[in-house]
């Protein structure tokens, strides 16, 4: 029984996948509202079950393990898919492939869970693949759109390439340590040439998934081309989960190479922040804009990672939670805009506050959170990252982080300016509202507004990170 509890997340997801298969046999998904409603309820149940008390430990000869932190991370991601499901309601109602969408999304999240719980590099590899391959299919889901298939292609080719490189690295690491279970790697790791070489290749593979500069170039194109729900999933779940894994990899798996990777990480961080922000500066497409913004955000995450301390991992997890809410809210609003106006251009946001004050307020909270403006939660997230980053005394990194705070503020304020200050070019009609989207947006917004004022959350993360 304990074991079953250990796999609780995975079992539920697997059950859902199975259920979807059964549903597809019965053509249940033709009853759109009922289907989507059921899915949302199930995802909510899934999310709630995640909070039940939990056993921790490892199983399957160490291939699978779980800790409080991993449980918490999975819970965050469960919340993410629930919210994404809610925000994409309108799109799914129109899409022909809503069942497949859920199927692939659940498969992907299954891969993510496998990756998070992995105790062996093989599982890590499988998890990465499993979380990516369905997304590639999903990003091609607007089957009639050129951009969508281009996005799918770019994602699958780039990701195959990056996997190839990562695998080559893993193979060399295997040669160096002899066994790829985490315990063995940690025990046998020596900082030598081959290990470093292999480490870099593996790092690049994960950096690719997190879209760290210079491995990020696929990001913007794929984000732009994919359906908004998929972009949302990519930017939030996919990226967030890899950030969690990244912590495990760097702090535990390659903790022995800390002196070496610290420097590399800080350079990657500087590059990501700067390049992401500089590109975001020139974007007019909302999704592309958020793509570059998310690249910059990862740069900030790396500042915390470079802290190489408990505070580092705490602040990173905390930040991802906030980042998840902010991005989902932003994409939710963009999706609503795109549904109503058919435009994803930032220009179409002009004068939004006058025509749709609620959407504008949701958006502004999300953007402020991304920019790190108080009292929104992103402020705390970002500052804790910086505080943690100070631990390694990488002053140049912090300096760049400071510069990029300003730069990113400009980027987000540009959108705020469109919404609040500029006059509308063409009047935005009052957007359609549906309950699901509103619930999601309200949840995100409330979350963003109060997280900073509920210290218990941070405290809890701190506590589980210390274990």
């Amino acid at each position: 029984m304990d074991n079953v509890l250990l796999f609780r997340f995975e079992i539920i997801i697997a059950a859902l996948i199975l259920m979807l298969l059964v549903m597809s046999l019965r053509d249940f998904n033709t009853k759109v509202t009922a289907f989507l409603g059921t899915m949302n309820v199930l995802l909510l149940v899934n999310f709630l079950i995640g909070w039940l008390p939990m056993y921790t430990g490892s199983y399957f000869s160490g291939f699978f393990r779980t800790t409080d932190l991993i449980v918490f991370e999975k819970n965050i991601l469960n919340l993410g898919i629930l919210l994404i499901s809610l925000t994409s309601y309108q799109w799914l109602k129109k899409s022909e492939h809503r069942l497949e969408f859920y199927f692939l999304m659940l498969s992907s999240i299954m891969g993510v869970f496998v990756m998070l719980s992995s105790g062996h590099i093989l599982m890590l590899y499988l998890g990465v693949e499993m979380s990516t391959i369905p997304i590639a299919a999903m990003s091609n889901f607007n089957l009639d759109e050129k951009r969508s298939s281009e996005a799918g292609l770019k994602l699958i080719l780039s990701s195959a390439f990056s996997t190839g490189i990562m695998l080559f690295g893993i193979s060399l690491l295997y040669g160096a340590v002899g066994n790829l279970s985490f315990d063995s790697v940690i025990a046998n790791l020596h900082p030598d040439m081959l290990t470093l070489f292999a480490f870099t290749f593996i790092l690049a593979g994960f950096a690719f998934k997190m879209s760290i500069v210079p491995f990020h170039l696929w990001t913007a194109d794929v984000y732009e081309g994919s359906p908004i729900a998929v972009t949302n999933f990519l930017s939030v779940i996919s990226k967030g989960s890899v950030v969690f894994v990244f912590l495990t990899i760097l702090y535990q798996l390659f903790g022995g190479l800390k002196d070496e990777w610290l420097y590399a990480i800080s350079i990657l961080s500087i590059l990501s922040m700067t390049v992401g922000n500089l590109f975001a500066l020139r974007q007019q497409n909302a999704k592309r804009f958020l793509a570059f913004s998310s690249i910059a955000q990862v740069g900030f995450v790396l500042v915390g990672v470079a802290g190489a301390s408990v505070m580092g991992s705490t602040s990173v997890v905390y930040f991802i939670l906030i980042y998840l809410l902010s991005n989902i809210a932003a994409f939710g609003v963009i999706g609503a805009m795109a549904d109503s106006t058919g435009s994803e251009s930032l220009q179409s946001f002009k004068g939004l506050y006058k025509s749709n004050p609620f959407y504008a307020l949701f958006m502004v909270v999300a953007l402020f959170s991304l920019a790190g403006v108080p009292p929104v939660a992103g402020f705390f997230g970002k500052l804790f990252l910086l505080t943690a980053g100070m631990n390694s005394k990488l002053y140049v990194l912090l300096g760049f982080a400071g510069v990029n705070l300003v730069l990113s503020l400009y980027n987000y304020l540009r959108v705020v300016k469109y919404m609040f200050i500029d006059e509308a070019v063409t009047t935005v009609p009052p957007l359609q509202r549906n309950r699901q989207l509103t619930i999601a947006l309200v949840t995100c917004t409330i979350g963003l507004l109060i997280i900073g004022f509920i210290p218990a959350i941070y405290q809890y993360i701190d506590q589980i990170c210390r274990m």
Partner: protein, 645 residues
């Protein structure tokens, strides 16, 4: 607090209350009521002043045969540090009491006079408010116990002067004059302020009397480093005192800071009488007198400089006065010249036994000058009131039309020309005598100036009241009872104030001295005065071309003097051209272009350029992306290896 102290407090407080009252209720009160309230308050003040003065001079002021300062009130207003604080208070000593009398009397008369003169003005109540404010500030200045208190009231005086000069605030020339007066004196005050800072640091106090004590006692520890030569052969103390004097020079319109005073005549004429003749402009003299012991004992070189500046200004202003045609301007230059008299009188004075008569003479002249100059201005005001013009060419033969004005004006002219037995004679006599005892150069300049004074004053007199009568004048002394009574009161002072044995009341050390009166000495100055009067009679008693011919003879010099020796133009050049174009404009340009343009907007431009520069990276081509990927990996490997090795 005895009745004298209470009275002295009331002396300061009443004008302030009057000011507050009039400002707050300026709309509600009828103009006449406001004027009467102002005037009555001031009259009360004057009466209190006489009460206090009597009490001081004939009662509590004298201790051991010398007048001592009596602090009627003192409280700490702003504490800087343990030894530095701004105290506000009231001091009664001979010079302050003397000035109190001058201020309250003249001010009362001006208030009274203005009831007629300013009748019908739109902002009548405000005018009285400003007058009260000025009077309050001036009284506060005079009764200051602390050098910073003096500075505070000094500034307040400046601003009331500013407001009053700019009373006709819709007139561009009045605005310009008000600004000029304020800015020039402000510039001078900067010197005062720095002087105070130096003094405060040297003496470790801001209290006048403590400071005087610390900086005059032989062997005082505060003096040790202070009197050492520091810069250009003068000691730090001398520099400090000269900087303080700069402030005084600004207010008292000493050369080269005199340029504001003639322009200040743009204000209403009674204002000119009060502020720019009798009271405020003598603040500089009062300031030097206040610090006189320090000057005389510890920094005689500074005093000498003051003497020379005073002498030069006296002559310089007198020369210009001879050429001006606007009667108020003539009076203004005359004021400059007379104040310069007082200034050099202080300058030639010393400290030791028998050497301090200059000090007494200076204050004496201040006293008498206040009466006759106020009288002159008010007389001029009456004339202007009657014919609505300031220019001499519009005047002539006004004897009949303005009899009271004529008589009083004549008395004042005689007085300022130093003709016995009018008051000016005694004070000027004392000054010249003091100068002749210590510095002959200054004496000769003073002597010549007194001749010039007689000349230009009587030029004015003859030109207005004799010469060719003008036909057309409007207000034949109608509704002028208040103006006339003010003139009549002041004429008493102008005529008889000289008879006061001033030396027994006011002296540098406090112990009474006797001002020498020597008829044989008086012959020369008086004859200079008479020559001046004669010359004026010769040129101006009747319409003739004598004056023009003489002017033609002087040619260039006359033009230079007529244009006030182009000092204004030089100032204008420095301010408009040099400061605006060389400092102000470049500063503004630098700010917009360099600081904002390059530093701040430049950052934005660089960022945009950076964004543009890395644009090709995102080419949309997967293969290029993959190449960046591999390149990144290889560089990272190289980096790690370098780090590792």
């Amino acid at each position: 607090m005895n009745s004298y102290e209470l009275s002295s407090l009331l002396i300061v407080a009443l004008p302030l209350m009057s000011f507050a009252f009039l400002v707050l209720l300026s709309k509600q009160l009828k103009p006449r009521v406001a004027g009467i309230i102002g005037t009555l308050t001031l009259a009360t003040t004057a009466i209190l002043t006489f009460y206090v003065a009597a009490g001081y001079f004939f009662g509590f002021g004298m201790e051991n045969g010398a007048y001592v300062h009596h602090i009627a009130l003192q409280f700490q207003w702003l504490k800087f540090s343990d030894n530095l604080s701004i105290d506000l208070g009231i001091v009664l000593d001979p010079i302050s009491v003397a000035l109190l009398i001058v201020i309250t009397v003249v001010s009362t008369m001006v208030h009274l006079y203005s009831l007629n003169y300013m009748h019908g003005e739109e902002y009548f109540a405000r005018y009285y408010a400003y007058l009260s404010l000025f009077t309050f500030s001036m009284l506060g200045l005079v009764m200051a116990v602390n050098i910073f208190q003096m500075y505070i009231f000094w500034e307040l005086v400046g601003v009331s002067s500013f407001l009053l000069i700019g009373f006709y605030f819709t007139k561009p020339s009045a605005i310009a004059a008000a600004k000029k007066a304020f800015i020039v004196t402000r510039f001078a005050d900067l010197g005062f302020l720095i002087g105070i800072l130096i003094l405060s640091h040297g003496a470790k106090t801001l209290d006048f009397f403590v400071m005087i004590q610390r900086l005059t006692q032989a062997g005082s520890p505060y003096l040790a480093h202070f009197t050492a030569t520091s810069f250009l052969g003068l000691s730090t103390l001398s520099w400090a005192l000269l900087l303080v004097f700069a402030g005084g020079a600004g207010k008292s319109a000493m050369f080269p800071l005199h340029i504001w005073l003639p322009d200040a005549m743009e204000g209403p004429t009674p204002v000119s009488a009060l502020i720019h003749a009798a009271t405020m402009v003598v603040a500089g003299v009062y300031l030097v007198a206040r610090l006189f012991p320090i000057f005389a004992i510890s920094a005689p070189d500074a005093l000498l400089i003051i003497a020379y500046i005073g002498a030069f200004t006296a002559l310089f202003a007198a020369v210009i006065a001879c050429t001006q045609t606007d009667i108020k301007r003539v009076l203004a230059y005359s004021t400059i010249s007379q104040i310069a008299y007082m200034m050099f009188a202080l300058g030639v004075s010393g400290w030791g036994e028998g050497q301090t008569e200059g000090f007494t003479a200076s204050i004496f002249h201040l006293f008498t000058h206040a009466f006759f100059k106020a009288l002159l201005f008010l007389g001029a005001g009456a004339i202007i009131h009657a014919i609505n013009s300031n220019e001499m060419k519009d005047m002539g033969g006004l004897r009949k039309a303005l009899p009271i004005t004529h008589i009083t004006f004549l008395v004042a002219c005689l007085s300022i020309s130093g003709i016995p037995p009018f008051s000016g004679f005694f004070s000027k006599e004392a000054i010249l005598s003091a100068a002749s005892h210590s510095n002959m150069l200054v004496y000769y300049v003073g002597l010549f100036t007194s001749g010039l004074t007689a000349f230009y004053m009587f030029r004015l007199y003859f030109r207005i009241f004799w010469y060719k009568p003008v036909q057309d004048h409007h207000n034949h002394e109608k509704h002028t009872w208040a103006m006339n009574s003010a003139l009549l009161v002041l004429v008493l002072g102008a005529a008889f104030a000289g008879l006061i044995p001033f030396g027994s009341f006011v002296s540098a050390t406090g112990s009474p001295i006797i001002l020498p009166f020597n008829p044989s000495f008086s012959v020369v100055p008086v004859s200079f005065g008479l020559i001046g009067i004669f010359l004026a009679y010769f040129f101006f008693s009747k319409e003739s071309d004598r004056a023009d011919k003489t002017v033609a003879y002087f040619g260039g010099f006359y033009r230079a003097a007529y244009h006030k020796f182009y000092i204004d133009e030089i100032y204008l050049f420095i301010t408009k051209k040099v400061i605006f174009n060389l400092i102000g404009r470049p500063a503004a340009w630098f700010d917009r272009t360099v600081v904002n343009g390059i530093l701040i907007n430049g950052t934005a431009v660089v960022t945009e350029a950076g964004s543009e520069a890395i644009k090709p990276m995102q080419s949309g081509k997967v293969q290029s992306y993959a190449m960046f990927f591999l390149g990144g990996v290889l560089l990272l490997v190289a980096l790690l290896f370098i780090q590792f090795m």
